[in-house]
Symmetry: C2
Subunit: 675 residues, 2 copies
């Protein structure tokens, strides 16, 4: 290698050689800790207010994960004290299973260290970065160590506490004051206390908002929060039922890359390719393994470690054409319709919307071998402010996402949809729509593809993006059909009122003119209208009581019997439902059925019941279905759809010229499904 | 530690103890390579089309960095071949200084390894991740190794080539076929060839767009691109002058955290606190070091390694109140006004805009010890489509940012500004504005705070965000004052035309009526108008020739002499400027001065010159200034501002009631500066 003293070469080339050599001398390893120390924004520690939130988020997410892993109903306490201008002291304590003494330093004091990274199962923390990063930023900004304590279950076990500082050059914990002590309070659990520079804010993107939204989608958790002014907020546990614990699964072969397959093969404990495919992947049966290997021309008893690149390519091709079942869903824990509605309600904070669109939970898909599920919900109208952009609530694996909205696949999916077709304002059919609506989207996956280690936004993988789009469209279609219904109703109502007002008026004038008595017009009106009219009404009685009334008018020439159907929130039911004479039955989902018999021409009958509790408002009285009559003569209710699933309920065939107006959109959504 | 066989405890607690122990057994280190393998979206390798772009971007950015480091005018060749459906073979070759043989494996085959991470100096690649990640995704998606070759300068040097695969478990390169060979073609340089799964797209967010935008802001580079169809595009070098090489600096004390200070102190080679502050930081003089230490009550001869936390806090407090110069700018390489205009012009692709707002380059600030500079430019109106959102061009350290627009501090700054005040449409004064405009923003820093390792968006640090906002406001104010000028001109023009049309008309009618001859109205019009009128016009002569004409009408009672001033693009000048009889002089910035003497009442004179070349269109004829007359009688030109900086040019004092209408906004911007 030439040195700078090599005098044979011209000056210019000497200089250039020097560059390569000079650069070589600067080439060096960058410690991952140093990398994040200098790029703290990547972990979400950019502004002071965000840093304060990030630390708490990482700790609370870990607490919830640990409790769920041990099937413990989580109790999490968050306490913030302001020491001075920018220094805050934070304590987060849980009742989780605790952390084994010797693992504590690495869990809290080493980046890229954890238990959930390699597990294919829905959890909040997966990177092994968050809590150590919090400890590191506490260290960097205040120079103080973090103090962690943990007690694992068992009477004989003592609790351990220690101070931790991270050596950023080596990415290793430096532990001091490692001591056993007697744990007081909860039976077991983990407590982390640290000092960090921050700024405490309220309102949007605040710690309060994060904890509230966390409580909404984790109703099995109780969260107690003491803010820097000493105010205590308790987010009560809403249910004692743990969500089903997500099961760990094997990778799904869908969307696997050749490098993944070759790595799995070379690391496999299996002796043959057949058993490798069968046992190391989910959803590959013996029959499928045989089929794939035959198609790829790979011997069944070949050792996986001997797999060549060409064979791997052939196997991937064979997998593409094989019919493999969708990934299992028990590795995931979706929020569910009910909680989505409830969540939206909480966010409304007492405001009364016009309509809750039925939340949509899509069936699972996979991206890069990781199953995922998308859920969406929309609430519309009423008291929701209508002058700004719609509010977007984003969740990933039951964690609220408060920052980086613009970077998120959820926002992108919302922006790329033409909401004008669904009744919202949107310039040019692109961008976040305007109007009185709140849109909630939850992405649950064994590995949520976040755009950065800060876990603030979901990356726009095409498969994921398109699933979010579909969930939104289905939900929006729901909204649109409500808005259509309202529009139709308004029109029919207008016609109805005209007939009822003008006819008697005309009759009156004619009678006056002729000097004759005013004739009874009921039958005339009936003849003109020729409808069975269902008129819903909701009366508010106190904060949490609603009186629901359906009046059924028979404006036809013959006696009519009508069945009504509605899905009511089960927990809001009270005796009035069961005691109503028209009541037939109700199933577990809250699908209720009534029969209103023998309404004479020009007469009406009333169906009435009450709903109570805080879910009462999620019931949409306009969401009423009928059966037993030809749809052309029924107004104010929709024909019961075929999938209502009630045994023995006889559905009248619809006329040929009766067209479901949602049909067209349905087709569009189905087409999108195939994209 | 209790085992699962410990029978003394109840079943429940046994299970819970088991959880902590079970979890402990799963705790493990996560290799950084494995982390990114499973989170490829963080590096930008999510969709196939984006992956293809990312790899090329990382390689080209490295080539440009290396060439600049060695002061070589860059020649970069990019070749893409499509092997089959999704497999692409990519070759990127440069004429850079090359890479020393023994460093090649680590540079291309190890994540978090590089030469620029620790250097405080503007460069494109800093993380030591990008190119190794590209090699890794080539490996993973196609199973093929990357092939790299390099030849360093020097006749005696042989070139070396090798195949590289990354061991993702160990984050180490696995090298095969390491061979010396004879380099052909360029004198020295580096060539990387790899196969990767991708999708080749054209148009928005394409490789072509990235290379074009790169060429625009790196006019000293020549880039040759061969697309998968064999089409060759050459982005010619526009200048042989290298941008000044950014100098490496020491950290600036502004915004330093206590952890940083203590780390610097403990790693310092300096013997005393005084020399430590003076020599390890930029902008700390001996006087300042003494002042800071005195204020913090730390002895000057204390050993830096002995600095306590309390002393560090005191020093940081003292630094806050000390008057430390802004960071040096020679570590940065801004694009500059001229290239910003040129860049905007290229993007317009032949469309003719109405107005180029003068680009703004802010003075440097620091965030976390890293100096940064923000530049902004706006082009408006004319042929630019006016029905959609404005187009945003984002650059960081001379690299175009094509993805993650929604996540970027630049977009956020644009969205949070009320553009309605500056003549663009924007609902509610928030969000990306609509209208015929293109907005360019460049952030240059010794360390650009990207939101993720994919380097697609700039994080929203408050200091940075506010600087971007200020640059945009200044630029927009410029636009607004142009729009105001146009509006005023239109109005005055209308008045002018009325006087010129109606008066003669009235005179004609009066004369007809009285049977007398029509009087000469010139003096009457002059009396009514009492202005000196400057009327600019631009005539297009062929693709690149513009004839600029200023007609100066004297509608006052006395003979007038007027000076005109305009800034013209120097490279567009031709002899017509110098040969014009009214021409006085022109300076290096293109600020030209004319004097139009002795215009008699009711007479006019014409100033005419030509501009040629592709920058001719960036000249705004309406941007014309005058001096030598009282501003209340001049229409169609603005009073020459005080900072025009022309020696010996006599400026007439403005009347007391003459108010600069930009003054109010100026104040607002200044106030923002103090935020």
């Amino acid at each position: 290698m030439p040195s700078e003293n090599d005098t044979k070469k011209p000056a210019a080339s000497e200089k250039k050689t020097a560059t390569a050599v000079k650069m070589a001398s600067k080439q060096q390893e960058i410690s991952v800790t140093e990398f994040f120390e200098k790029n703290k924004q990547i972990l979400g520690f950019d502004s002071r207010s965000k840093s304060l939130l990030m630390g708490i988020k990482e700790a609370v997410d870990n607490s919830l994960d640990a409790c769920e892993e041990a099937a413990i109903l989580p109790d999490v306490d968050v306490t913030i004290d302001r020491l001075n201008d920018e220094d805050y002291h934070i304590v987060i304590e849980d009742n989780g299973p605790g952390i084994v003494h010797k693992m504590m330093p690495n869990v809290f004091g080493r980046l890229l260290y954890g238990s959930r990274f390699h597990a294919l199962r829905q959890s909040r923390g997966q990177q092994g970065i968050g809590i150590s990063a919090t400890v590191m930023y506490g260290n960097i900004t205040t120079g103080k160590p973090a103090h962690v304590e943990s007690k694992i279950e068992g009477e004989d076990e003592v609790a351990w506490g220690m101070d931790i500082v991270i050596d950023t050059k080596a990415n290793r914990p430096i532990v001091t004051n490692d001591k056993a002590f007697t744990w007081e309070g909860k039976e077991h659990g983990t407590r982390i206390a640290y000092t960090i520079k921050g700024r405490y804010i309220t309102g949007k993107q605040s710690i309060f908002e994060y904890l509230r939204d966390t409580a909404i989608v984790n109703p099995h958790a109780q969260i107690v929060f003491r803010d820097p002014e000493g105010k205590r907020f308790t987010f009560e546990r809403a249910t004692d039922i743990m969500p089903p614990r997500p099961k760990e699964i094997k990778p799904h072969p869908e969307g696997m890359e050749i490098g993944d397959l070759m790595k799995y093969a070379s690391n496999s404990a299996q002796k043959t390719m057949n058993t490798f495919l069968k046992n190391d992947f989910s959803r590959i049966t013996d029959r499928l393994a045989k089929e794939i290997l035959a198609k790829a021309k790979v011997k069944e008893d070949k050792k996986p470690a001997d797999l060549t690149r060409e064979e791997a390519i052939a196997i991937l091709e064979a997998i593409k054409t094989a019919k493999i079942m969708a990934p299992p869903t028990d590795c995931l824990s979706p929020i569910g319709d009910h909680l989505i509605k409830k969540g939206l309600m909480h966010v409304l904070d007492g405001l009364r919307p016009e309509y809750y669109a039925t939340p949509v939970t899509r069936s699972p898909k996979a991206v890069n071998g990781n199953p995922f599920v998308v859920e969406a919900g929309i609430v519309y109208g009423g008291d929701i402010p209508s002058d700004g952009q719609v509010q977007i609530l984003r969740f990933a694996n039951r964690v609220p996402l408060l920052y980086q909205q613009g970077a998120c696949a959820i926002t992108k999916a919302i922006s790329e949809m033409d909401w004008r077709r669904y009744g919202l304002e949107q310039r040019g059919g692109k961008g976040i729509p305007y109007g009185p609506a709140i849109i909630l989207v939850h992405v649950a996956s064994t590995k949520v593809p976040f755009t950065s280690e800060g876990k603030e936004a979901v990356a726009g993988f095409p498969e994921l993006q398109s699933e979010i789009g579909l969930a939104l469209r289905l939900c929006a279609r729901n909204l649109k059909s409500h808005l259509n219904k309202m529009e139709r109703k308004k029109k029919t109502h207008a016609k109805f009122e005209i007939v009822q007002e003008i006819l008697p008026d005309m009759a009156q004038k004619a009678a006056d003119h002729l000097g004759k008595p005013v004739p009874n017009l009921d039958r005339t009106i009936t003849k003109i209208m020729n409808v069975v009219w269902v008129e819903p009404s909701v009366e508010k009685k106190g904060k949490n009581l609603r009186v629901i009334k359906y009046t059924v008018y028979n404006y036809t020439n013959t006696k009519r019997t009508l069945r009504l159907h509605a899905q009511v929130p089960r927990e809001s039911l009270n005796l009035t439902l069961y005691s109503n004479p028209f009541f037939l039955d109700i199933n577990d989902e809250g699908k209720a059925n009534w029969e209103i018999p023998d309404i004479e021409p020009s007469m009406h009958k009333e169906l009435m019941f009450e709903l109570s509790g805080d879910m009462a408002d999620t019931f949409d009285a306009d969401d009423i279905y009928f059966s037993g009559l030809n749809p052309v003569i029924v107004m104010g209710a929709e024909l019961l759809p075929g999938d209502w699933g009630i045994k023995g309920m006889e559905i009248v065939e619809s006329d040929d010229d009766f067209v479901n107006e949602d049909e067209e959109e349905e087709t569009e959504v189905e087409e999108l499904d195939d994209e």
